[in-house]
């Protein structure tokens, strides 16, 4: 099975790790090719299926460990917390949802940022956390991203942001929408100081996230098979009243349509990022990341 096949096989592949009925949690099954994998091997392979190259969704912490120099990540100490300022309540109040999400993920919100070393080069890093309310962008996520960009403007170090988000956080109404403009505006300032920004699109990146900072990288990379688009597939299907073609809105589709620079297997991501940062950033003349 080729790298490109897996998303054609299943329309909506289940994410995460499915545990098998074998005691000890040592074995897992790939959601794409159904291969049974030894968990240690899978982790050693950056949670990319060894059989079909399916990219499992991972936490920001896992991502940090796969990409950046060991122990080099220092998290930004933004103690920002979301507020339910609209008293928003659907099937559940926003306040409750926030509490639950925090409990479940252990994070305060859907964005982790800080500084890390990439093959010896200091960079600014932001990572969205899809497991926290679908990585949705409310005021806190928008503010954290903006502060990260401002940090890059100040320290002149390259900026990498890994996206995975369903879009704006509806529970914050119009102010969540405005985070799109806020983050994009900050990137316009980053432009003017000539600091490189690389965005890495991970599964899924849609809605307001996709239509703002995600698509504004000087270089845009995507993990294989990631869903990337403005409108979600379900909305489009409802609008056009037909099934979407296979592979629609996947990374490879975006590459073909000229929207991204490259689709990069997670296992090669570190090297590609290192090289890109080195070529865009005059300060980085180290050759540690050379292939």
């Amino acid at each position: 099975m080729s790298i490109l096949d897996w998303f054609n096989k299943k329309e909506k592949p289940e994410q995460g790790i499915k545990k098998l009925d074998i005691p000890g949690d040592l074995w897992v099954k790939c959601y794409s090719c159904n291969s049974v994998l030894y968990l240690k091997d899978l982790v050693a392979n950056s949670k990319v299926c060894l059989e079909c190259q399916y990219h499992f969704r991972i936490t920001p912490q896992e991502r940090i460990s796969y990409i950046f120099d060991h122990g080099s990540f220092t998290q930004n100490e933004n103690q920002l917390k979301s507020i339910d300022f609209l008293n928003f309540s659907d099937t559940e109040s926003y306040k409750k949802r926030l509490e639950k999400a925090t409990k479940k993920s252990g994070s305060i919100d859907a964005f982790v940022s800080g500084k890390a070393m990439l093959s010896g080069q200091a960079v600014n890093v932001g990572i969205m956390d899809f497991s926290f309310m679908g990585g949705s962008m409310g005021s806190v996520v928008g503010e954290s991203i903006t502060r990260l960009i401002e940090m890059a403007i100040k320290n002149k170090l390259p900026l990498l942001i890994f996206t995975s988000s369903g879009g704006a956080r509806m529970q914050e109404g119009i102010l969540s929408l405005m985070q799109m403009a806020k983050t994009s505006a900050a990137l316009s300032r980053l432009d003017s100081v000539g600091v490189p920004y690389i965005s890495i699109l991970c599964d899924p990146t849609t809605g307001g996230t996709s239509a703002s900072f995600a698509m504004l990288g000087d270089i845009i990379m995507a993990e294989p098979g990631a869903l990337i688009g403005f409108a979600g597939p379900r909305v489009i299907e409802q609008t056009i009243r037909q099934k979407l073609p296979k592979g629609f809105q996947r990374s490879e589709f975006l590459l073909e349509h000229g929207m991204i620079d490259m689709v990069v297997n997670r296992r090669e991501l570190k090297d590609k990022l290192t090289l890109s940062v080195r070529l865009l950033s005059p300060k980085f003349s180290g050759k540690q990341g050379k292939r």
Binding site: F88, M170, M178, S188, M215
Partner: protein
Amino acid sequence: MIIKPLEFEKPIHDLYIKIDELKRLSQEGQVDLAQEIKKIETRAKTLKKEIFAHLTPQQILQIARHPNRPDSFSLANLICDDFIELHGDRHFRDDPSMIGGMGQIASHRVVIIGHQKGHDTKENIYRNFGMPHPEGYRKALRLMKLAEKFGLPIVTFIDTPGAYPGLGAEERGQSEAIARNLKEMTGIHVPIFSVVVGEGGSGGALGIGVANRIYMLEHSVYSVISPEGCASILFRDTDKADIAAEQLKLTAKDILELGVIDGIVKEPLGGGHHDWHCQAENIKKVILKDLASYKRKDTKEITEERYEKFRSFGKFMDESKTIKKGD
């Protein structure tokens, strides 16, 4: 022109029908019903005031989406002495759901850009119900750059259910087009004034809305998602759109309170769909005032102001001690 009344407009509409009837009788039967007519007219006006003072978000939404609501192109023509439409994104297509052109408002030369809906099915199909494809946003950006080059202030009219969610739109980079506009608009050297004239739907609205001054018409809405979409996703029940409309806080009054807009533009009593000229006049007054006051501002002031405006949006608790808000 008599327009099919909305549900809550019916009591008013009924009175006006009665007035018309009495007027006809007056003329035919040579009966003098002037006093009677005047009484009902007063009643109608009072009723109108009362009803329009207590509109629900759902009702406001209906007005904002009214098929007879003044469209961007008509407003541009009503506001300008001369308006000349310009076309095309220079890449793929001229998107009829986004109009743009140059015009003169009193002594001010401006570029006007706006989402364009139709007033009937045929027009709406041509205008794609005001839902732009990427080329619409790219045309808008092209015209903004033209405005910047020649020092013309930019006025944008926001009126869209959202950017179009379709195959071609995704293929040609709806996300890229909107994102690009958000970023580029930040740096445009001329002042930008935006007016939500009808429906301000999500990223598709914001895509031409990164402005120095933002206004909403009295009965317009601005929302991160349509109440229907919100109901379907969060409430898992499309019938709950009414509740979603309340929760989302999408009316001009709400948005003003949230600090996102700079003011509310009055509509003629009964709503802009009953009097386009009056509506255009009200918008013109606001825009003219801004045009005059921004004439004195320099490029740096203009771009800084716009940046700071959007930089400030967001409500959250900041418990950090060491890190302060960046500039």
